[in-house]
């Protein structure tokens, strides 16, 4: 059983669901407070969805400078598994742990739906239990999910197999190249707009595709221990 930290910022919404998902996956959730400076020795960190600091200035821009993020950034640079979901993805981009940025949806409305995705990279800590090209469905709910980056960055992401998830059927928010999620060069940091923590239980989910995120993490951590 691994200890997985979930950071709560002022305005986080899905921190409870993320901790619940950790429990459902058989791990120990560790609540981390944005104003603290210790990760309490967790094996991985989830930055959850919501509207940290009211989305003031830009989504994730103020959360990025909260005390706990200094530790998260340092840990991520040393290989700590970090998963950013929705607002958490925005925080990762603002932190420059992931390239690019997320802007308001091109449809100008909040989008909430069960979103078909294709898994394009399984070479990450959080997706190695999927099969390449696997079609999955994950809950999507956001107002600012349009992924943008300069052409060189997009070329690099595509060339280095760092696009992890791609929107299928129609693009919900104008993201370049239908990008729904990306990873860093090392594969330990993954950010995506859809919410895998909502796809853990039959009762409330159209799929259980969120579980494989945790299976992937287990495999990685297990392999790390063996190594």
């Amino acid at each position: 059983m691994s200890r997985i930290g979930v950071v709560t910022f002022p305005g986080s919404l899905d921190d409870h669901d993320a901790r619940r998902a950790v429990t459902l996956a058989g791990h120990e959730p560790v609540a981390l407070w944005h104003a603290h400076e210790s990760l309490q020795g967790v094996d991985a960190v989830i930055l959850p969805g919501g509207f940290s600091y009211g989305d003031y200035l830009r989504c994730g821009a103020i959360a990025r400078f909260s005390p706990i993020m200094t530790e998260v950034i340092q840990g991520a640079e040393q290989g700590l598994p970090v998963l950013g979901i929705c607002n958490g993805f925005q925080v990762l981009c603002e932190s420059h742990l992931l390239p690019g940025a997320l802007i308001r949806n091109d449809v100008r409305t909040f989008v909430c739906r069960d979103q078909p995705l294709r898994v394009d990279s399984v070479d990450t800590v959080w997706t190695n239990a999927f099969t390449p090209g696997q079609q999955i469905t994950i809950v999507l709910k956001n107002g600012e999910g349009g992924y943008v980056a300069d052409p060189d960055t997009i070329t690099r992401l595509e060339g280095e197999n760092q696009v992890v998830f791609r929107y299928q059927q129609d693009n919900p928010n104008g993201s370049l190249n239908d990008i729904a999620g990306i990873t860093n060069a090392r594969g330990n940091v993954v950010g995506l707009m859809p919410h895998p923590e909502h796809n853990m239980e039959q009762l409330t989910s159209p799929s259980l595709d969120g579980r494989a995120f945790f299976t992937s993490l287990e495999r990685f951590l297990g392999a790390a221990i063996v190594a």
Binding site: L57, R58, A61, F65, C93, E94, P99, G100, A101, I103, R104, N105, D106, R108, G146, V148, A149, D150, G174
Partner: protein, 80 residues
């Protein structure tokens, strides 16, 4: 006390859905031929004398926090 203005605008190549919405609303109101891009204006009150060093700090603050230079350009100027 000096006042420094920081203007932040989405880069030209970045889609500006808010500006598009305002442009559309203006057209519906009969204001033809007006295309809007929407940005942000920050008014920064600087304590003490506004030296080049202090102005440099405002510039640094703009680059670090007020603007995300991945998607936005900023301009810093002293208000007379």
């Amino acid at each position: 006390m000096a006042r420094v203005i920081v203007d932040v605008m989405p880069k030209p190549e970045i889609l500006d859905p808010q500006g598009k919405a305002v442009t559309g609303a203006l057209q519906r109101l009969g204001f033809d031929g007006l295309t809007v891009r929407q940005g942000k204006r920050f008014e920064v009150e600087v304590d003490g004398e506004l030296t080049d060093e202090r102005l440099g700090q405002v510039r640094e603050a703009a680059e670090k926090l007020l603007a995300n230079t991945v998607i936005e350009a900023f301009d810093v100027r002293v208000e007379q």
